[in-house]
Every structure is written in structure tokens, then in C-alpha cells.
Symmetry: C2
Subunit: 358 residues, 2 copies
């Protein structure tokens, strides 16, 4: 094996996504999917698009979707890029803005795809430790690097760095591109999209996978000044002219325009999150303050590994990261109220709070 592989991939370790089980009876709280269906208008738009026109290539620029985003977010169309999921958008951004051999900076605990992109594209990585309480030490991100990537709210902690902190980072790195990955921002976080007007070095990346319940459709967005958006298009048009298929463009456009549905469902997720956090705290869990559609929790008496395995035995999938500082934490996606009740009951059992064996 690897006989014909190029040097650039000989020693890289790809990203490992959360498990996608075929057994639908499992309660799936492991990949931060939304428990509610996509907007009925999105589904209707996809149905309308399912016909003869699929024989034709899509609009390579996804104009319809770009226009909807421009209207909803109050931006110009040349400040918006759309792609096949925010992972693809991020991979284009790494190529467009970070040179081979240059050094980019991100927190020690964050989305584990960032070093994977960097390794493939020959970019060096330096990690900055989050503080003991998992907040971002903004003062350690001011200069001395060739680029910055901040997930905000952060994954897997769910914790947010406020707009003031992001602004300090943007001002401390005027020559470098600062990517703010807002995959989870719609669950109560404060978006820094309004800052793109003032900061030509800011690229904000978002996704339709979480807050719009469209993980299965693969749509992501980026917002920034025209120079950055043109860079993303340059990479895109050098690898695949048509990254978004016709149905993805149609469905995502209708979803973006259905603001009421979007607002109602994300509010439900936030309410369930707060209810779940309260219940788990009552069981003795530490629950980090989350602005995302997941919570990051640990228990003083039962290890992360035990909790993960115990939940799995009970048919509940969550995510556990076997890595320093967070190996006693579980990342638990916010599901429906019923699913979170089942989770609470299982965790009560596993922590001995119902008098059952751990």
C-alpha cells in the first residue's frame, strides 16, 4: 500500500467524522445534527427541482443562494461564497490564504479538522492552550503568526469568545487572514459578520448543516470582503466548477429565506439545551456554558470513557475525544426533549444517582 501515493499524503492522518450508524433505533447525539426536519419550504423547493433539469449543470456560482444570503444578512453578493459544506469552504480558505511553510495558529482544543487541512497543504500549525476554564486567551493571538483560525462558538466546548475579543484579534493581526468558523453561531452566539465591513482580513464561515437541519444536503457559506471571496472562487474554480448541485442550491435558498421556521427551531434547541444543562448539573455534572447545539460535560466520579461506553450500551451515541485535557468530557448533541430525557435517565443510572450500579 501507498506505493503510488504522492509525498504530500504519505504521512497525513485524515479527519475521522462521527459514526453514522445504520441502526436507526439508536439515539444519535454524536454529530451535532439538528433534531428537527429541514424547512418544509426547502423540501418543497427540492421536490420542484427534481426533474428533467437535473440533466443540466448547475449555476457554478450558486447565484440564487448567494442572493438570498445577501438579502437576509444585509451583504453584497461579492461578499459571499457558497460551497459543498463548511468543511469544503474551510479547505478552500486554507489553500487561498495560507502559504506552504507558513505558520497558522489555533487553540489546543478546537475542531480537529484544522490540522488535517494544514498537513495536506503543507502549512505549519501552532496551538495555543485555552485557559484552564476553556476560555480563549485572546492576548496570545495578537501577532507572530501567518494566519488564525478560531471556531466561535468553539467545538467541542461550545464556549463563545465575544465580539470584542475577536475584534482585538483582527486588529492584532492586520496582515493575516483570521478565519472565524461560526458553524454553531445560530444557537445563541453573537456573529461577527457585521465586522467584515471594517476588517478586510476577516473571513466568517457558516453552514446549513446544523441550524438549518441540512447536514445531508452539504451546503456551507463564507462571508468576507471581495478580495477574500475572490480568493475562494479562484481555488474553487481550480478544482471543481460546480461544487453545489441543483438540489442543494434550491433547498438551501428556500431554507435561508424561511426565517420564521429557522428562528423557531433554533429557539427550541436552545431551550432544550438549557433544560438539559440544568438536569445534568443536578446530577453533579460540570456543564460548560454552551452557545452551540451541543454541551460539553464531565462528571467528578465517572470517567469520560466509562460514560461514553455506558451510554453506548444503552443505545445512546455521544462523542468522546481521547485526547489531553478533555478525555473526561463528553460532547452531547442537543436532540429532542424526549431524547434528552432518555439521556438524563441513562446518565443518572451511570452516575449512581438512581441507586443503580454504575
Amino acid at each position: 500500500m501507498k506505493e503510488f501515493w504522492s509525498d504530500r499524503i504519505q504521512n497525513i492522518t485524515p479527519y475521522t467524522p462521527g459514526e453514522q450508524p445504520r441502526d436507526r433505533k439508536l439515539i444519535k447525539l454524536n454529530t451535532n445534527e439538528n433534531p428537527y426536519p429541514p424547512s418544509p419550504r426547502a423540501l418543497e423547493a427540492i421536490r420542484q427541482g427534481t426533474g428533467e433539469s437535473l440533466r443540466l449543470y448547475p449555476d457554478p456560482a450558486g447565484t440564487e443562494l448567494v442572493q438570498a444570503l445577501a438579502e437576509i444578512y444585509g451583504l453584497e453578493t461579492d461578499q459571499i461564497f457558497v460551497g459543498n459544506g463548511s468543511d469544503e469552504v474551510l479547505s478552500f480558505a486554507f489553500q487561498a490564504f495560507f502559504d506552504r511553510g507558513s505558520e497558522i495558529v489555533f487553540p489546543d482544543i478546537t475542531y480537529s479538522f484544522y490540522p488535517v487541512y494544514a498537513n495536506l497543504f503543507g502549512i505549519r500549525c501552532r496551538t495555543v492552550p485555552l485557559r484552564e476554564d476553556f476560555t480563549l486567551p485572546v492576548e496570545l493571538f495578537l501577532g507572530g503568526n501567518d494566519g488564525i483560525v478560531i471556531a466561535n462558538p468553539n467545538a467541542p466546548t461550545g464556549m463563545e469568545t465575544g465580539t470584542d475579543g475577536i475584534r482585538r484579534i483582527l486588529e492584532g493581526n492586520p496582515e493575516q487572514v483570521v478565519i472565524v468558523d461560526e458553524a454553531y453561531v445560530d444557537f445563541g452566539g453573537e456573529s461577527v459578520v457585521p465586522l467584515i465591513r471594517d476588517y478586510p482580513n476577516l473571513l466568517v464561515v457558516q453552514t446549513a448543516s446544523k441550524s438549518r437541519s441540512l447536514a445531508g444536503l452539504r451546503v456551507g457559506f463564507a462571508f468576507g470582503q471581495p478580495d477574500l471571496i475572490a480568493g475562494l472562487n479562484c481555488v474553487k474554480n481550480s478544482v471543481n466548477s460546480y461544487t453545489l448541485d441543483r438540489l442543494a442550491i434550491a433547498g438551501a435558498t428556500a431554507s435561508v429565506r424561511d426565517v420564521d421556521y429557522f428562528d423557531a427551531r433554533r429557539r427550541w434547541v436552545m431551550e432544550t439545551r438549557e433544560r438539559t444543562a440544568k438536569r445534568l448539573k443536578a446530577l453533579g455534572f460540570t456543564v460548560l456554558p454552551s452557545k452551540a447545539n451541543f454541551i460539553f460535560v464531565s462528571h467528578p466520579a465517572v470517567s469520560g470513557r466509562e460514560l461514553f461506553s455506558g451510554l453506548r450500551r444503552e443505545g445512546i451515541l455521544v462523542r468522546w475525544f481521547d485526547q489531553p485535557r478533555i478525555s473526561d468530557f463528553l460532547r452531547i448533541t442537543i436532540g429532542t426533549d424526549e431524547e434528552m430525557d432518555a439521556l438524563g435517565t441513562a446518565l443518572a443510572r451511570l452516575t449512581g444517582m438512581e441507586g443503580l450500579p454504575v
Copy 2:
């Protein structure tokens, strides 16, 4: 502009796809789309998949589609890769198998995306001139390179190199990966997929865009020995775990399984191609022998540029390449019989064969 761009994209020229006009009254023979709709079973599978499950991530490996391809093509599942259109598959192959600074070889007249990938990934390109009659000089592709890319049938000529020629190239480059891009093979060409058993250096790339009428859904395939397929997966999983959305997987799977529909429609296209070629020859055109869903034609008295503009004025879009050796040719996609009749009538006028002004 370009203030924040990385060195790798400062001087590259992205690929320019054929125009996708919004005016549906135009006869669109410019991007090699299929004139017939996708299989009704593909559309039904997409409709079935349009529901709540879109909130969930797709299967990252596209297992269902891989299994269908394995059955239809008589391969093992570890010999198959699926991606978001064959352009994306090719971009992954360039990264997986060709090193920075190494030199790959392809014909001077071929798919113009190959040098674009190469430029982005820092791969050097050497072109080998096709013979005067646009056939491939196989003897000039035997060694002295770090990789080879052959479109077969070739684009934009439509001409095929036989299996014996490809076999000679595979045997003349045992240490290099030879990519055979079979985007157009289903229209009468001979696929070299059976050769992958014997040649570990052979990667065959195909697409659902042309022969399966699914350009709007973005699905491509690659076939090769497991080492090559693992290399493609390594790249894919380093940029985007889920390149194919749920609807693309469902639709392409049903399309691949609907063999009767596929065979009937590609036969229609081939019949229309032969009829069109005959008519254009009667008008004095040179028509290269095509095994693709397009023909490449020139006229002794009227320039390519004039023909292109003239057809455009008549509401017929074709593709014209302003580049050496082929600037007097048009690439004309095979449409329906009615569309090709309209084309024939327009070309008769433009070449003075109906006594009308050119």
C-alpha cells in the same frame, strides 16, 4: 485585490466552464449535457430521499452507490471511489498521486482543466502534440515523466485511443500513475476498466453527468486497485468527509442500477451523432470520428469564430476554443434530433449551402 491571497493562487488561471444561460429558449449544445432526462428511477429515489432524513449527515463513503457500481461493473467495493463530479475526483487524484515539482504529461489538445489542477498543486506540465489527424502518438507517452493523464475519448476531439494503445502506455510507465479520464466513454468508446486488474498504476475516472443525464447532481467515479482508491480517500477525508449529499447518492445509485434506460438513451445519442455527422459532411464540414456525445467539426470556407458567432445569433450555443490548431473547429454537443435539425439548417445557412448570405 489579491492582498491576502497565498502565493499558490497568485498567478493561476482557473478553469472557465461553458456558459449556463438563463434564457431557456436557446438551443444549448455547449457543455455536453445529455438531451434526455435522468432515469425516472433516479428521480423517484431523490423524491423518496427528500424528507426529514436530510437533517442527518450522508454516509461519508457513499456505500450504497459504491455497491451498485461494484455489481454493475463487476468490481470489488475497494476498487471504487465516488465523489462530487469527476472534476473533483480528478482534483483529488492529482493531489494523491502527483508530487509538487514533478512533471506530468498530457496531449496538447485535451480537457483544459488538467493544467489548472497542476498549477494549483505545484505540478509541472508537459504537453505532447497530438498527430496532425488528432490521434494520440502513443509512442511519445512511454516513460520520461512522473504521471500521465489521457482523456479517452479525448475532449474536445471526441476521438478514441484503443485499449491496445492504453495498455502500451500503462506498460511503458510502470512506476507512474496513468489517469484515464473516461467522461465520454459510454457513447461508443471501449472502457479500460477491465485493465485495472492487471495494472496497479491505472486509475479510470468516469462521471454521471453525461451518459446518465445527471450533470445537475454532481457525481463522479474512479476505478482502480485498492492502493489508488485508498489514496483518493486519504485526500477526500482531509478536505471534506461528506462530498456527496444524500440525494446525489440516492439518485446516482438508482441511475446506475437502471441499465435498460441507460443503454437506450446512450444509443439514441449515438444514432443522432451519426446522423448529424453525415449531414454536416454533406455540407462540406470535416467531422472528426467521435465516440463521445459531441462532435468536433470545421469548415473549409468559414472560420470557427464566424460559425460560433453565427450560431449564437441564431440562438444556438456551441463551444469554440480560441487556441492553436483548433481555432477553426466547433465542439457541438449532440442534442435531440430536433435540436440537431435546427443546427443543420443554421449551419447550411452559415456556409452558404442554402443560397443565403454567410
